[in-house]
């Protein structure tokens, strides 16, 4: 139990990546058309963080994983039906708005406050996980802000790997420019890790894990506290879909030799 970890994973729900999105502006600011009925999924990079957290917890007896999620209760419940079958965790839910347009600073205030109030969480053993960017706002700032609010001064972003050592220190691989990883050694918890893809495949659904998780998920959803997210002086001047539509030339009747010549000429042109 020397390396028992308390891992808190922050993960939002996002529209399924294959859905067509159309922005609309309502009385509360911008949003997505039919946002409430769009199929939702756990944020992809945050999902990587959850799977890595569960894997790390499984290899370090005495560890525990909390999944902290802010979103409309109904959406959270829908997404949890699938996520609960993947890995063991305890859900801590907050009933709040969905989407990429609320201010990240307000989101961080709510999430940090919620984490501070988690019963049994030992913050000296804490690893704060999440996606390094969401698929909604994609700002890559919320985890940092939560970390600052929790007083965590060792933070890593774009993480693909963590290797925990017997002495409690760990090695982290972070994505940096040029398709490389920066390798760092951290003395130990607490730390913030914003995950990229990681190394783990999505776990198969396990009904037994799902049953165990659902015992805590439904009460957590019922207890979810409502949260409002102030705009903090953020104003949207415009929100729109990209208008760029290209005129595509379809070339069907050229031989491979002719295409190759055309491509080489194009590649070499300034």
């Amino acid at each position: 139990m020397a390396n028992a970890l308390h891992i808190v994973v922050c993960a939002g729900v996002v529209p399924d990546p294959l859905q067509t999105l159309e922005p609309v502006t309502g009385p509360n600011g911008p949003g997505l058309k039919s946002e409430v009925v769009l199929p939702a999924t756990l944020d992809p990079w945050a999902a990587s963080a959850l799977y890595e957290a569960a894997n790390l917890a499984a290899r370090n007896p005495g560890s525990k994983v909390w999944l902290v999620s802010l979103g409309p209760k109904a959406k959270l419940q829908q997404v949890m039906m699938t996520v609960a079958q993947k890995v063991p965790f305890e859900l801590v839910s907050i009933d709040g708005p969905i989407g990429g347009f609320p201010d990240a600073h307000s989101t961080a205030v709510v999430l940090a406050g919620t984490i501070e109030s988690i019963q049994g969480l030992d913050r000296t053993k804490c690893l704060l996980f999440g996606g390094w960017e969401s698929a909604t706002r994609g700002a890559g700032v919320t985890l940092q802000l939560i970390g600052e609010r929790l007083g965590i001064a060792d933070q890593f972003q774009g993480v693909d790997q963590i290797d925990l050592r017997d002495d409690g220190s760990f090695e982290v691989l972070e994505r940096v420019e040029g398709g490389k990883h920066q390798v760092s050694i951290c003395a130990g918890t607490p730390a913030v890790l914003g995950w990229a893809t990681g190394n783990l495949a999505e776990p198969r659904n396990n009904p037994q894990v799902g049953m165990a998780n659902m015992r805590t998920i439904m009460p957590a959803l019922q207890k979810a506290k409502p949260a409002t997210l102030p705009a903090n002086g953020l104003h949207y001047v415009s929100v729109s879909l990209p208008k760029q539509q290209r005129t595509t030339r379809i070339v069907k009747d050229l031989s491979p030799d002719e295409i190759a010549r055309e491509l080489v000429e194009w590649i070499g042109a300034e």
């Binding site: 990429g100 940096v176 990883h181 760092s184 495949a201 953020l234 104003h235 070339v251 491979p256 190759a260």
Partner: protein, 365 residues
Amino acid sequence: MTMESVLILTHDALSDENRSDRGAALTKASLEAVTAGMELAARLSAPLTIGIVAADPKAAASTLASTGARLLGVSGDAFAQARYASDAAACEALCRAVSASIVLAPASSRFARVAAGVAHRIGGFIDTHITAIGGTETVEATRWFYRQRVEAVLRRDARPWFLLLDAGTHAAFAGAPGPAQVEQVPVELPKLRTTVTGLQAPAQEAQTGAPGDRSSSLGWETIRPDAKLLFVAGAGWTKKQHDSQVHAVEAGELILGFLRLAGASLGSSKSLVDQGGEGQPVLPFLSHMNQIGQTGSTPRHAKGLSTCCHGEEPHVVGWRFIAERRAINLDPNCGWTRGKADVVYIADAFQVMAKVNALLNAEKA
């Protein structure tokens, strides 16, 4: 209108031999932020200060001599490493020394790691992935939401306002170097618990989920942010071809050959990268780092050539910032190419790329 003041945060190119911009006093992304900051300060008639985070900021300062800006720097061995605790302390000290209302910084991995934390420490707010700064009476910033699928222009009343600029959105500052005075800003460092031990190429086994040998057996990198051309490989490369056989080895040779000859950077669809974890044929030099699209990167290159990609919206997302786009595809009705690519060649990519490589080889010879 409130009088604004502008601070540009920059950092030097770390000395690690693997850095693509090693030896440069400032990173290219930092110099792009300098251009953006100078334009903004001129438009607002605002005082301009440039802060430099470096072990020794003198060389960087001399490259900024012709900006006419006030130059501040932090120095010391602690800043030779890109690490949250020391970099956040350095940026915080620079911000406190200036009390600027607008802080611009490049969205490099180094500053993206710390900028939000610094904004919080000085009571500010931050917006990232900024692609343009405009406005007439006010400052307005453009950025994308939902992974480059929705574009928004926003402004904030609150100050200080941090804006992290995406790379490739501004020209790099290229003024003549000269003697420059850099004011040293003291930094109170916290206890440092993290040590950076270096950089490394992604694991060859990353796509199979087996950590181990972390060295690149190619001896060169397939991801080249400064390349003019992005070559995107789709899952079709490892599917059965017209002879009902898989030709993954040949596909790998053709792709690597092209990257070498054209100096291109390699991107991949998620489906191709994921195949390794699903026991299907793989291109062994690909990792998740090559992935573009929803769960990958959205690189900026002048040109893009897509091969054997299928037609999903995430692929379009990955191509958002590619200026000229061509594709080789067997399917003339592929949905994503129409209206997204400039030219689509309906052809067998194996045959075409073999011919392209032969022509490029002949040119080299």
